[in-house]
């Protein structure tokens, strides 16, 4: 069994790993940049070592430095978390060479899956569906028809020299193929001087659904169900949930088996995530494998009752999986919201600054993964995530209700947050019905949000008016008190500012 783990990461994921390691009686080693000297995770670990300056390139990305700290501290394993060095095959290889256990897949598997073309070939070879298409350019109409019928409509015609949407056409049926092909070729010829085109399957507004897998070092694999991650903006996930509204037992089993197959074929071990696109007709296509623990792993933990970090450590220690596929039981529903320091009213610009105050009440069924404490700073050096709020309920409706309540009772002072944006997403009809895809937020939700007019009930309007007066007077207090005390040594203000509660 592993005895001492170095966590090559920071923030909430470092806290997450340290807590499980401690529960298992394993010693923990944190590494920190100048910025993180007294961050929560660095205080929580048994030992903490400085590895460099605040920018990640001068600290958390310094593989050599981190390995040397591992050796110095006597750590026999390194957990990379997510981001930073977690998906660099080179780092896993360095650990191997230094006889330090890398808690993740072997470097060969990271490299096999890291290249999208190689991963796609692997998928095809092992009968995992991929977005099909021609491998060489097409110019002949009859040939194009044959190919399109083989792939199945709708198809996308793409100029082989293309870019910027030019020479691209979506074709819904065979009847439109000839004219679309000609138009695409004309456009391609005039734009790029080359009229050869590719044909591939067109997946319109797909869902993003991923499967959590665990693979031990003895050739056993299980999948832990899906995570629906279609609520995204610019490829950044906002809300994740499990189960997916569109999932049924047969599809889950089919996709789960595909996920396991591709993992085993690549020589994968430890925890991983296999991503798929799913279209309106529940056809799914392999996208890629994330060879690490995911940000959104807690929702899988809530629904399976497993501790994924503990499973990772056990696998890395050489243990066999303690469960077979039929032992994996799914119960209830879970949702994760990422609370970020950003300004939804200003194009989601990250908001930096000191978190002067955090008010929150978790309550039944809520979990929070965070590495941040009141008084900490959101800096430019790392991502803007403040907290991951995770709700768990007997069903989806309960999980949503708990999440909404917790978000409403979550107040952050000092930086702008996306809390109210998350709330309006959760209250949106499309989310309530589960009828959304990866295009939803940008194409439909954001344009509508801007037109929203808020109406408060009359009691709340009164509260709002009174509150604004009290805030106004409290701010004036600071100024006028100074002025009047300088003049007459006293203040006649009627409002006594109460600041004893917190500093």
């Amino acid at each position: 069994m592993i005895k001492k783990i170095l966590i090559a990461n920071r923030g909430e994921i470092a806290v997450r790993i340290i807590t499980t390691a401690k529960e298992m009686g394993i010693k923990t080693v944190a590494v920190y940049s100048d910025f993180d000297r007294y961050s929560l995770y660095a205080k929580l670990a048994d030992e903490a070592y400085r590895i460099g300056e605040s920018p990640a390139s001068k600290s958390y990305l310094l593989a050599d430095k981190i390995i040397s700290v591992a050796k110095k501290s006597g750590a026999d394993a390194i957990h990379p978390g997510y981001g930073f060095l977690s998906e660099r095959g080179m780092f896993a290889k360095m650990c191997l060479d230094e006889n330090i256990k890398f808690i993740g897949p072997p470097h060969t598997a990271i490299e096999n899956l890291g290249s999208k073309t190689r991963a796609k070939q692997l998928a095809i070879k092992h009968k995992v569906p991929v977005v099909s298409g021609t491998e060489k350019a097409v110019t002949d109409t009859e040939e194009a028809k044959k190919i399109a019928n083989n792939i199945g409509f709708p198809v996308m015609i793409k100029a082989s020299a293309g870019g910027g949407g030019k020479g691209m056409r979506v074709v819904k049926s065979e009847a439109d193929l000839e004219s679309s092909l000609r138009m695409a070729q004309n456009e391609a010829r005039s734009s790029f001087g080359d009229d050869s085109v590719f044909i591939e399957k067109y997946v319109d507004s797909p869902r993003h659904i991923e499967f959590q897998i665990l693979v031990d070092e003895h050739g056993n694999a299980v999948h832990l169900g899906e995570r629906e991650c279609s609520m995204q903006r610019r490829h950044q996930k906002i809300i994740e949930e499990t189960p997916s509204v569109i999932m049924d037992e047969a599809l889950r089993q089919e996709m789960g088996e595909c996920a396991k197959r591709i993992a085993l074929a690549s020589g994968y071990t430890n925890a991983g995530t296999v991503e798929f696109m799913v279209d309106n007709n529940k056809n799914f296509y392999f996208l890629e494998v994330n060879t690490r623990l995911q940000v959104e792993h807690p929702i899988t933990e809530m629904r399976t009752g497993l501790d994924l970090v503990a499973e990772q450590i056990k696998i890395a220690s050489g243990e066999k999986l303690s469960m077979a596929q039929e032992d994996v039981k799914f119960k209830g529903a879970s949702i994760e919201c990422r609370i970020c320091a950003e300004d939804p009213d200003n194009n989601f610009l990250p908001s930096t600054g000191k978190l002067k105050y955090i008010f929150r009440v978790l309550g039944n069924g809520m979990r929070e993964d965070t590495g941040i404490e009141q008084g900490n700073e959101i800096s430019i050096y790392y991502d803007s995530m403040i907290s991951k709020l995770v709700s768990y309920g007997a069903n989806r409706e309960m999980a949503i209700r708990k999440m909404k309540r917790a978000l409403r009772d979550y107040k952050v002072v000092g930086v702008k947050t996306n809390i109210n944006f998350l709330l309006s997403l959760l209250e949106n009809e499309a989310f309530v019905k589960g009828d959304y895809n990866t295009q939803y937020v940008e194409r439909y939700f954001l344009p509508e949000l801007k037109e929203k007019k808020i109406k408060l009930d009359s009691d709340t309007e009164i509260a709002k008016s009174l509150a604004s007066i009290l805030f106004k007077e409290s701010k004036h207090e600071g100024v006028s008190a100074k002025v009047s005390s300088a003049k007459s040594g006293g203040t006649n203000s009627w409002l006594k500012r109460k600041t004893e509660a917190y500093r």
Binding site: V413, T460, A463, K472
Partner: protein
Amino acid sequence: MKKFFVNNDGTGTPAEVLIKDDRNAVVNNEKIEYEHKFISDNVMILRINNKNYIVKAENDPDEDIRDTVFDIDIKSEVTKIICKSELDALMEKFSKNRGDVKIKTDIISPMPGAIVKINVKEGQRVKKGEVFLVLEAMKMENELKAASECVIQKIFAEEKKSVEKGQILIKLEPAAELTEIKK
């Protein structure tokens, strides 16, 4: 006793609020009892006729000195509110007569980062919502957009160069015609 006028975004008839003391007030001729406690600079617990509210005032760096404009977060809905004391209302009358309306002409960097791309040229007329430039910070590309129609006077920012928080990136022409309208 102190009187205030409060309304949403400056539209509609302002509510008249009379603060009698730190427990009693009158809102549009209706007596209310209240108590409150600040739990941080910008968050307070406000109890009106025994109903609880947690209210947050959003920070606004452009706040005018008299603190008349607030973004108030109540029940997780954020709305703008304009709150004037009797004195404010009076002062405003004077300054309006003098016609000194200030319009922001400096586009400053909201955070340290690097300029990825500049989309505008000096002398260019820019429509509301058009992107001035793209600033990369915290692993994200961020677009700085025009809040209203304006003309670029000078560009200080350079592509591929890093900038500090608060640094002036672009200077706009003082929009005379816009000032006219506001008067």
